[in-house]
């Protein structure tokens, strides 16, 4: 049971607020939901859209079609055509006074219904169309108006009583507008209703805090800034600190400085910033300093499309460092998984004294989801420390597991100099071939030999047909596989959470017996496919469904691929 709807409007029309309120309202009804925000390039006043999906169970992706669209105006609405596919039977409510439905929007079989939203809003002084739209949506989704009244009171409280009253009246006007057809959805609360609402960016922030990150240095960049803005006021109350650095070169080096000082540290950025951090990440590799970099990917290359999503920084995260520089690369699979994956990344970085790059993206980072609270996992950064080093202490000692106890400044007798130059076990610079090989070996070994357990991938289903994916494409793949199974098909889904070190054997085992393989990724140059070829041994030549952003994959198109392959 699910339905998709979009609310669009010019800047200032408040469609994002309406969407968020609708999500709150769903939660109050024990329903699940996902809301993706879509913007134009303007900083303020540009057109915007709330893209929502409502269901009686968790939803991780948008659907193939939208059953309902509410257009507050037609301002640049063509920009959203790609992102809001309407189809036969879709209902399109549009502001009466804004003129006829533009041809780009009109589709075969779409039921267009002009609504006097402006006039309804104007019944109240200071009334706003977005509250009317919320009322229309609530009615069509069969939601309780009383819940809405309470919610508006809660959310608009700080704007004053009058504002609340006007919004409630506008809502009612929409809700009770007599021109509305029958509801298009009937709300049955989920048996285990959502108990959390979060965005992926908040999820990464929380995961970091859960794992013990108490230092963040970063430079603002879309779409990572809101993770930082979420973290800043919170981390400082946990006795931590967030520094707004002068640039990303400073950010990563500040984080390394803090981490070297013993405090689990993180930075967050997007592609252009990651590019600037690579030299610093290499220093973390060579000096064996744990640090976590969250890259909330956006459209590339270069400045690209800052407000839109893509999975095309994979190449860089995997292979962007100069020299032989083993490190960790992880990717959360959906909004709530941002918590787990980031927490795990911090944990691993600390344990393995290596940098970890976490690849989130705009679609995940800036989507809000109603979800179950992510399980508490006991991943607290536990660095192997040299507590009482002694005079023969060797910071880069060659150990069996490759991890060498680290003396934290303040530890008596542990003084040593961390170095990005190649060094012998004591840390003294060395250009001898043997020292080089020993250190290269140990830095590779500590990652390769570590047992990463079961978290390396999410797996479901069985059969000789398999789908491999990663990151935010997982949502659509997961749903496609579910549909395929409901149709009687058999398919294995494997979504990689840990990309480096590559879990070659585990993946080979997971793919044993597979004779048809589909790879799904959101990049133009097939980066994930190339990663699989380079680091893994696939049993068969895969079919590759690769597409750049910003339009997300839908379950339907993946289902079509699956059908055609079986």
């Amino acid at each position: 049971m699910h339905i998709s709807l979009a609310i669009t409007g010019a800047g200032g029309a408040g469609v994002i607020t309406a969407g968020q309120l609708l999500l709150d309202l769903l939660a109050a009804h024990g329903l699940y939901g996902l809301m993706r925000r879509s913007y134009g390039p303007q900083i303020r006043g540009g057109e915007a859209a709330s893209l929502l999906r409502v269901a009686d169970q968790p939803v991780y992706c948008l659907d193939d079609r939208f059953q309902l669209m509410i257009a507050l105006d037609w301002k640049n609405v063509d920009r959203f055509v790609d992102e809001i596919p309407l189809g036969a039977g879709s209902l399109l409510l549009h502001e009466e006074s804004a003129g006829p439905v533009p041809p780009e929007i009109q589709r075969e079989g779409v039921r267009a219904l002009p609504v006097p939203m402006k006039a309804l809003a104007a019944q109240e002084k200071g009334g706003r169309m977005n509250s009317v739209a919320l009322g229309l949506a609530a009615r069509l989704l069969n939601l309780q108006p009383e819940q809405a009244a309470a919610l508006l009171d809660k959310r608009l409280h700080r704007k004053g009583e009058e504002a609340v009253r006007v919004a409630q009246a506008n809502f009612e006007a929409g809700y009770h507008w007599e021109g509305l057809p029958e509801p298009v959805f009937s709300a049955t609360p989920a048996s285990t209703p959502p108990d959390w609402t979060l965005t992926g960016n908040e999820g990464c922030g929380l995961g970091a805090l859960r794992a013990g990150v108490r230092f963040v240095a970063a430079y603002p960049i879309t779409p990572a800034s809101d993770m930082l803005e979420w973290l800043s006021p919170r981390i400082e109350q946990l006795n931590g600190a967030l520094i707004q650095a002068e640039d990303e070169l400073a950010s990563i080096n500040m984080a390394i400085g803090a981490a070297w000082g013993g405090v689990p540290a993180m930075t967050a950025t997007s592609g252009p910033g990651l590019s600037l951090m690579l030299e610093g990440i290499g220093l973390a590799v060579a000096s064996e300093t744990p640090v976590v970099v969250v890259d909330v990917m956006r459209g590339g290359p270069s400045t690209g499309i800052p407000t839109k999503s893509e999975q095309a920084d994979l190449d860089q995260a995997l292979h962007g460092l100069h020299g032989d520089a083993p490190h960790l690369v992880l990717g959360p699979l959906d909004v709530p998984d941002c918590v787990l994956t980031t927490q795990w990344a911090v944990h691993l970085a600390e344990q393995l004294q290596a940098p970890a790059i976490v690849l989130s993206d705009q679609a995940m980072g800036q989507s809000r989801m109603l979800a179950r609270k992510p399980a508490e996992i006991q991943f607290i950064g536990q660095r192997k420390r040299a507590e009482s080093p002694g005079t023969d202490y060797q910071r880069y000692a060659i150990t069996a597991d490759g991890v060498s106890p680290m003396a934290i400044p303040g530890t008596p007798e542990g003084m040593y100099t961390a170095d990005g130059l190649e060094h012998e076990p004591g840390g003294k610079p060395s250009s001898a071939a043997l020292d080089h090989v020993m250190q290269l070996d140990k830095r590779a070994r500590k990652l390769e030999q570590h047992d990463f357990g079961d978290l390396w991938a999410e797996m479901a289903g069985e059969g000789e047909l398999a789908v491999l994916t990663w990151g935010s494409s997982t949502g659509a793949v997961r749903e496609a596989c579910e549909r395929f199974c409901r149709q009687g098909g058999r398919v294995r889904m494997i979504a990689l959470r840990l990309l480096l070190p590559a879990q070659t054997d585990k993946l080979a085992q997971a793919l044993a017996g597979v004779d048809h393989l589909l790879v799904v990724e959101q990049s133009h140059s097939r980066q994930f496919d190339r990663y699989l070829r380079a680091w893994h041994a696939l049993p068969v030549q895969p079919r590759v469904l690769a597409r750049p952003g910003p339009v997300p994959f839908t379950p339907g198109e993946i289902l079509t691929e699956l059908e055609s392959m079986s």
Binding site: A28, P194, D195, W196, T197, L198, E202, L206, L209, R210, F215, A217, R234, E236, Q237, L238, N239, G240, A241, L242, I243, A245, E246, L249, A250, S251, N253, M254, A255, I256, G257, A258, A259, W260, G261, G262, V263, A265, E279, G280, G282, L283, S287, L370, K373, A407, P409, G410, P412, E413, G414, M415, Y416, T417, A418, D419, G420, G427, K428, P429
Partner: protein, 279 residues
């Protein structure tokens, strides 16, 4: 303050030295900086394990490994960022940052001005030999415009050199001094004062590179101490720096300015924060 140059009996400068033999050329000014630094540390009786020395890349930046402190030999130009992160995370440590004129003012120029502006309690030792030593003799931002001995700029740079003190002042540093490696006692004094100063202290040390700038051996004749006390007036400091030939040593500027350190407290828990996610 002359007693600063004599360490107290309790701790010897050698206590702060590691056994590693410097890669520096014979006669390099950086030896004297190392020695003055260890003297200053001894005078201050700083616990070794509570003191960190971070650097970038260059001959000068090799200095951490030659001390017996917690050291970090980072990457070129980013030492101040490393130090800023460390100090923010571990405010109780004494954090020293060192590097060359190339490291600090060419590739690292942005972090330099931002560290001045931020005014954290850090000490920055700028070992200025007006050349890139490590890469074998190219002009740096403090090189005389007519020095034409670098193959990369065979006619000289024809650019006005930076005055590190002027930049530091304009950017907001609260302690600015200039020392000379040929005057170890004076340098030790400056370093002691710099480390004691609360806020960002810049100590530019003229530290000759006999290999690529042999003429700097003549510095010992042109160096002279300022005959005035440090000022806390920025305009007066600007006047003095401007009138200066770059060869005066002493404290140029010292002012009380708000020392920056991130605001923090232990007021909540992760569990409490998680409550916000309940819809």
């Amino acid at each position: 303050m002359s007693e600063h140059s004599q360490p107290k009996a309790a701790v010897k400068p050698a206590f702060y030295k590691s056994g590693i033999k410097p890669v520096w050329c014979p006669g390099c000014g950086h030896f004297a900086v190392l020695s003055a630094l260890t003297k200053a540390l001894a005078w201050l009786e700083l616990p070794r394990e509570q003191t960190a020395l971070l650097s970038g890349i260059g001959c000068s930046s090799r200095i951490p490994a030659y001390t017996d402190l917690y050291g970090f030999h980072g990457i070129h130009g980013r030492a101040l960022a490393l130090g800023t992160g460390l100090k923010a995370a571990r405010p109780e440590l004494t954090v020293l940052v060192a590097g060359g004129d190339g490291d600090g003012l060419s590739i690292g120029g942005n972090h330099f001005i931002h560290a001045c502006r931020r005014n954290m309690d850090l000490t920055y030792i700028l070992m200025d030999n007006q050349v890139y030593g490590m890469t074998k003799g190219q002009a740096s931002p403090t090189t005389d415009p007519n020095w034409d001995h670098s193959k990369l700029t065979p006619h000289g740079t024809h650019m006005q050199p930076f005055q590190p003190a002027a930049l530091a002042l304009a950017a907001g540093a609260s302690f600015i001094a200039r020392g000379f490696s040929g005057d170890p006692a004076g340098m030790t004094r400056l370093l002691v004062e710099a480390i004691q100063h609360p806020g960002f202290s810049v100590v530019q040390v003229l530290s000759p590179c006999p290999t690529f700038r042999p003429e700097q051996k003549g510095w010992k004749h042109s160096i002279h101490a300022w005959d005035w006390e440090a000022t806390d007036d920025a305009v007066e400091a600007a006047r003095r720096i401007h009138a200066d030939d770059g060869m005066h040593t002493g404290i140029i500027f010292r002012a009380e300015r708000p020392v920056w350190q991130p605001v923090r407290c232990q007021q909540t828990t992760v569990e409490a924060i998680e409550q916000e996610f309940v819809p």
